[in-house]
Amino acid sequence: MAPRRSQPVRQAQASSKPLDPALIARRAKKHLDELERSNCTEVDVDPDQADGTAESSGRRGRGAARQTLISDKRPSVHPNKKSTMNIRTALLYKKNLATLIEESGILNLPSSTPSYLSAVVPPPKEPPRLFCSVCGYWGKYKCMKCALPFCSHGCEVNHEETQCEKRVVY
């Protein structure tokens, strides 16, 4: 009798167990990346899975030679001068910042050498404040499914109808 009774209880606990902190951290990271976008409609595809269709105006470097340069179509300061090899390379092979950081060698610097990587401020000591994901007031409660905070029953209803699980897509 006892084992049979404990079974459903354990299941119920499993379904309402708080989300994995790693998942929440990944969601926060993804959200921060979205806040860096220049255009919200930009499709941010994983570079490994990109099939090229999402890339229109030369967002990435490799194989970029096929694309035309906008700067070539514009009036040039020296119309009759050909750009040097260095300049053509810089224009044609666009690399994103992460790649440039990797290639710059600053990753191998001793930690005592100041660099872009060491200059970031330390994490705060205080735990983060939580805000209602619906109205922005203090978020006292957390959604059982997606762990986003909300402040009241009204906002909880709103959250469930419009927000919940939408952002749990990783």
């Binding site: 514009r74 390379t89 950081i101």
Partner: protein, 416 residues
């Protein structure tokens, strides 16, 4: 002629005399008239709804040189009408600019444009030459006192916020600290909030920049403001109404007065409530959006703690603000109150505000090159001849950046 180019990730400040031209460092495509506008042409764009932006910079660093060249070409040719081969240039770069990006700056200046001479530096390093710290104390005789030996420049721009201490005009690189919060993130955050709560503004960067500048402020009493924002509309002192623009009617967006009624009931109004202060709040509390970094006040305290102890008092007493984010109302009182609780009581805290924090670095550069042109030419500028003789490595050695000792990786195509 000597051109000064403060090449920000959001806006370019360029010119040769004391006031610069300011325009966006971007290429925008308007969905309305299907035209593309480059840098200084952007003000010509009438229909600013759903602009598509192409920015040369990623997180503050120039990565898209095609876009940057298109903007620079138009700027030198059409706006400045510059004879580049007969001119010199001073260009600003971001803090901790990567060595291989710095080399491309050098190549553009000499190989592409062929300037006579050039100096590349960070905006904060220009501030000691300007009047940010000296202007308020101008003596009646008119001769400004020299700037303080120790100063701490807070540069809060489009991509990030830096705390930059300087001793005798030189940056102390190991105490330079960065918070990854800038104007771009603030606007995008605001866009997200209002798009979920009211109108879909995700594509309206231009409008939301204006809303941010018109409505947002840094709260000095965050908890109290949060409560006030919950009060019913008639007694709520926080709520502001912003009339959204209608570009098809050529009607600009504007902030409405407390009892102002719009002419046409169909005009769209955006209501700004707690968004007004929770957005700039991120500069002081980045963890509010899950960014695990301390806020500006603690960043300043942290930076000072890395400096020689006998100088701490000098840094606390000489904090200067540049960059567009420092224009938010309430920024200084909030920073002051937070700093006061972090600094020892023995130290006096003084914050210097620029009358125009966006062009402060430009104007400092102008004072720098005009006050002693010979020192500038001999000590700082590198000539075209020197560059072609010795190459880009010498600019790094001469200008002593944080990575000046780091061996520059050679491109793989040269290795082979």
């Amino acid at each position: 002629m000597l051109f000064l180019l403060d090449n920000g990730a959001h806006s370019i400040k360029v010119g040769h005399d004391h006031e610069p031209s300011v325009f966006q460092n971007a290429i925008v495509r308007s969905k309305g008239d299907k035209e593309t506008y480059y840098g200084h042409e952007i003000p010509l764009c009438r229909d600013r709804s759903s602009l598509h932006y192409r920015l040369p910079c990623e997180k503050g660093y120039v990565v898209d040189w095609d876009a940057q060249k298109a903007i620079w070409d138009g700027m030198f040719l059409q706006l400045l009408k510059a004879d580049v081969s007969e001119s010199s240039v001073l260009i600003t770069e971001p803090y901790f600019n990567l060595p291989q990006i710095q080399r491309i700056y050098d190549q553009f200046v000499f190989e592409e444009y062929g300037f006579q001479s050039y100096y590349r530096c960070t905006p904060a390093s220009l501030i000691p030459h300007g009047s940010l710290f000296t202007a308020p104390h101008k003596t009646p005789e008119g001769d400004a006192p020299s700037p303080p030996e120790c100063m701490l420049v807070v540069d809060s721009g489009f991509s990030f916020t830096h705390v930059v201490p300087l001793i005798s005009g030189s940056i102390v690189w190991n105490a330079v600290k960065r918070i990854d919060i800038g104007g771009k993130l603030l606007t995008n955050h605001l866009k997200e909030l209002v798009s979920y709560r009211q109108w879909n503004m995700m594509d309206q960067t231009y409008i939301m920049d204006d809303v941010k500048e018109a409505c947002c402020y840094v709260s000095t009493v965050f908890k109290a403001d949060m409560e006030l924002s919950r009060v019913e509309r008639s007694r709520n002192p926080i709520i502001l109404q912003y009339l959204l623009p209608d570009f098809s009617l050529n009607r600009p967006g504007e902030l409405l007065g407390p009892n102002q009624v719009v002419k046409d009931a169909s005009w769209q109004i955006l209501e700004m409530n707690n968004e007004r202060f929770t957005v700039p709040e991120l500069l002081f509390t980045p963890s509010d959006i899950g960014l695990e970094q301390v806020g500006l006040a603690q960043a300043i305290a942290h930076s000072i703690s890395l400096l020689p102890e006998e100088l701490h008092g000098m840094f606390w007493g000489n904090i200067g603000l540049i960059g567009g984010n420092t224009k938010f109302p309430g920024f200084v009182p909030r920073l002051m109150s937070e700093l006061r609780s972090l600094a020892s009581v023995d130290y006096e805290i003084a914050i210097y505000q620029s009358p125009d924090p966006i062009t402060e670095a430009y104007r400092s550069a102008h004072q720098f090159v005009t006050s002693s042109p010979s020192v500038y030419a001999q000590r700082y500028a590198v000539t075209r001849e020197d560059y072609f003789e010795i190459g880009s490595d010498m600019t790094r050695k001469r200008w002593k950046g944080p990575y000046s000792d780091v061996p520059l990786r050679v491109d793989s195509r040269f290795k082979e």
